[in-house]
């Protein structure tokens, strides 16, 4: 729109909304909040602003980041996923029993990890199938699958804690590269992978489109169901990897490896700007959300907020963060669910 000739047509077209491709205020909100929260804690607590604490925050964010990447794809479709605790538990126990451990003579190493992730993907696939075949809303389908996963995990657990002795898996949590634990690099790899999937794969784009206008895809001749199942399967695989990562951190397979990750991952994704109604947000948004939540948790401990209050303060800040992002865009006849 630079040449004078084009400027003429511009007048006739009477204030058409300009196509936007850049970053909108909504997208910029969470990163700004992250910087502000970080700044506030840094000012309040000398312990917070140390390099080792920054490393610590990044390390602590690793597992949540992987779970949140998985859940982001589901949220992008406008579905919801509460299956993380069950799937993570099942994969944690499975991997602990397959790599070198104190319960049996298995020593499958990488294969064990792969099997655990595959099992998790299978469980995720189950959610997807329940959604598209039985037409059960994802809220319930995934809740059911979570229970199934926990049951499987308890079954495999059989009363004795499996402790891992696999040097590679144990090393993930302990060994460092450029100051960050290997797990953190794995999480970063997942962020990159997730972003590539979202941006460059048909699966990712269709997940995004399903959240935008599912019925249109059907009208365009796209069979939506396989993509939905695939998205849940992909999410399951990410939870599975997260379960493996928890096992690596704890050197033991725990049934409760994923406890609480369902709601914290949703919180992180939402704080990052992903809408629960689908079609907006994405992997990078969620990553910012994860960092925001982790910085909050870490910062509150650092400034010495009583453990009783920590949950409450976190809740308040989440509401405030969303409110701050929403209020400027508030419209009279806007629908809020």
């Amino acid at each position: 729109m630079t040449s004078p000739a084009e400027a003429d047509t511009e007048v006739v077209q009477a204030r058409r909304p300009q196509p936007r491709r850049g970053v909108s205020l909504r997208d910029a909100g969470p990163p700004i909040a992250l910087v502000v929260v970080f700044g506030v804690f840094a000012a309040l607590s000398p312990g917070f602003r140390t390099l080792s604490n920054v490393q610590n925050v990044l390390d602590a964010a690793a597992v949540l980041a992987v779970v949140t990447i998985g859940i982001s794809f589901v949220l992008m479709m406008g579905s919801i996923d509460l299956s993380a605790p069950g799937i993570m538990g099942a994969s944690a126990i499975t991997v602990a029993l397959l790599v070198a451990n104190n319960r049996n003579d298995n020593d499958l190493g990488f294969v064990g990890i792969a099997v655990a992730v595959l099992l998790a993907a299978g469980l995720g696939c189950l959610s997807g199938l329940a959604l598209v075949l039985l037409k059960v809303p994802s809220f319930m389908a995934t809740l059911g699958v979570s229970a199934v996963g926990l049951g499987l995990a308890t079954l495999l657990f059989a009363g004795v804690q499996p402790n891992i002795a696999d040097p590679m898996l144990e090393g993930w949590a302990v060994e460092r590269f450029l100051g960050l634990a290997h797990l953190t690099w794995i999480a970063l790899g997942c962020v990159l992978l997730g972003w590539l999937v979202q941006r460059y794969s048909r699966l990712g784009r269709y997940a995004f489109a399903i959240g935008g206008a599912e019925e249109v895809l059907a009208l365009s001749g796209v069979r939506v169901a396989p993509y939905k199942v695939a998205v849940f399967t992909l999410a399951g695989a990410f939870y599975g990897l997260a379960g493996v990562m928890v096992t690596s951190q704890l050197s033991a397979g725990l049934v409760q490896a994923g406890r609480g990750y369902d709601f914290s991952a949703i919180t992180a994704a939402v704080v990052g700007g992903t809408l629960l109604t689908g079609g907006r947000g994405g992997i990078l948004h969620s990553t910012v959300g994860v960092l925001l939540v982790t910085v909050l948790t870490n910062g509150l401990v650092q400034v010495g907020v009583s453990p009783y209050w920590q949950g409450g303060v976190q809740g308040l800040i989440v509401v405030a963060a969303v409110a701050a992002a929403v209020i400027p865009q508030r419209r009279r006849n806007q629908v809020t669910k």
């Binding site: 602590a60 308890t154 009363g159 302990v174 725990l254 049934v255 401990v301």
Partner: protein, 363 residues
């Protein structure tokens, strides 16, 4: 939509009519709510139903508790019904009230209440139904076992004592002075509070040990890992020791230390779970306090079984044995070998030997 209209009227009508016609009663009619005086039973040993209830089977300590219950049941030729409520108080109450709605005449329950507040309704329910009840760990201080007939005994470990013991062991391990941090259990449990009180006693006796910080990690290994990581960054090298209210959290803290590359921090816990014993053997952990899961799982059933079959009368149980502290040991590297494989012996559960591990009444 059609679903609403007629049922609305019908249900309302029936409810109101029933209320008006018959009034209200204290207990439900029918069923096995025999109520009252079952001071000592005369059940055929084969008719006794044994129930063990813990939070979940995915916790090694609690799983071993149920296994102990199974061992005892096998000893007397019965099977134990294993119940778990997943750490959910409401669900525990629901299961127990459902259980008590069945045949309660020869029912023996060995229960781990989720928290102090969960004990009274369980006790009242058992009393009303006449089921034999033994509780462990959690009980409000003002609830007196001797006031009830069906509530045979309450067993616990002295949390203050164990908290103090490991506190002292920790102080000793760091040479009597330096900073420590504490990982608290679920704040709403007597065990967590008692153990922390014990730590405070210990601190009073070791004035050079400074409590830098205390945070809750809800008895969870994963949470302890995260909290410890943060505390390590916050306090850095000031931390010489970590006091954890149970072994799971201690193990989580150990992982965090390992990841941070710190091997100069002493860690103590409570419960003597197998992993902690291994850690003590290896020298990475300093101390823990034993609580014998298999024994706990068996002893509760044994007391109930002995009373139900008439081998022991409730009035014959000494007042001190209605609510008592069980024997516990501080485990350190020198004596860890004795505890690595806890086994229950039949003798522990003989009707004349039930209270041999008592360390005295709960004051």
């Amino acid at each position: 939509m059609k679903f609403t209209s007629r049922p609305t009227a019908a249900v309302l009508g029936v409810a109101l009519a029933a209320a008006a016609l018959t009034g209200c009663t204290e207990t439900a009619a029918g069923g096995g709510a025999a109520g009252g005086d079952v001071a000592s039973g005369a059940c055929d040993p084969a008719d006794v139903t044994l129930v063990g209830q813990v939070r979940n089977e995915s916790n090694p300590y609690e799983a071993s508790w149920l296994d102990g219950g199974d061992a005892f049941a096998e000893q007397v030729g019965l099977t134990q019904e294993r119940l778990t409520y997943d750490g959910d108080s409401t669900r525990q109450q629901e299961q127990i009230s459902q259980l008590l709605a069945g045949d309660t005449e020869c029912l023996v329950m060995n229960i781990l209440p989720n928290g102090d507040s969960d004990t009274p309704p369980i006790v009242e329910g058992a009393e009303a139904a006449g089921a034999y009840l033994v509780t462990q760990w959690n009980k409000p201080a003002d609830l007196n076992v001797a006031d009830y007939d069906s509530w045979l005994s309450h067993i616990t470990y002295d949390g203050v004592e164990s908290g103090r013991q490991i506190g002292d062991a920790l102080a000793e391990a760091i040479g009597g002075s330096g900073g420590i941090v504490a990982l608290q259990g679920i704040l709403d449990t007597g065990a967590a509070k008692d153990r922390f009180a014990g730590l405070e006693e210990s601190l009073a006796g070791n004035p050079d040990v400074e409590l830098l910080d205390d945070q809750t990690a809800n008895f969870s290994r994963a949470e302890a890992l995260e909290v410890t990581k943060t505390l390590l960054t916050k306090h850095g090298d000031d931390i010489k020791g970590i006091w954890a209210a149970n072994d799971d959290m201690a193990l989580g803290a150990l992982e965090a230390l390992q990841q941070a590359g710190r091997d100069d921090v002493a860690v103590v816990g409570i419960d003597a779970v197998p992993d902690a014993l291994t850690a003590i053997e290896e020298g990475t952990m300093t101390a823990t306090v034993s609580s014998d899961g298999p024994w706990q799982g068996g002893i509760g059933l044994a007391i109930g079984y002995c009373v139900a079959t008439g081998e022991l009368a409730v009035e014959d149980i000494a007042a001190d044995d209605r609510a008592w502290f069980a024997e516990q040991f501080l485990i350190q590297q020198d004596n860890v070998a004795d505890f690595v494989s806890p086994e229950t012996s039949e003798a522990d559960f003989a009707c004349d030997n039930l209270f041999s591990r008592s360390q005295g009444a709960i004051s």
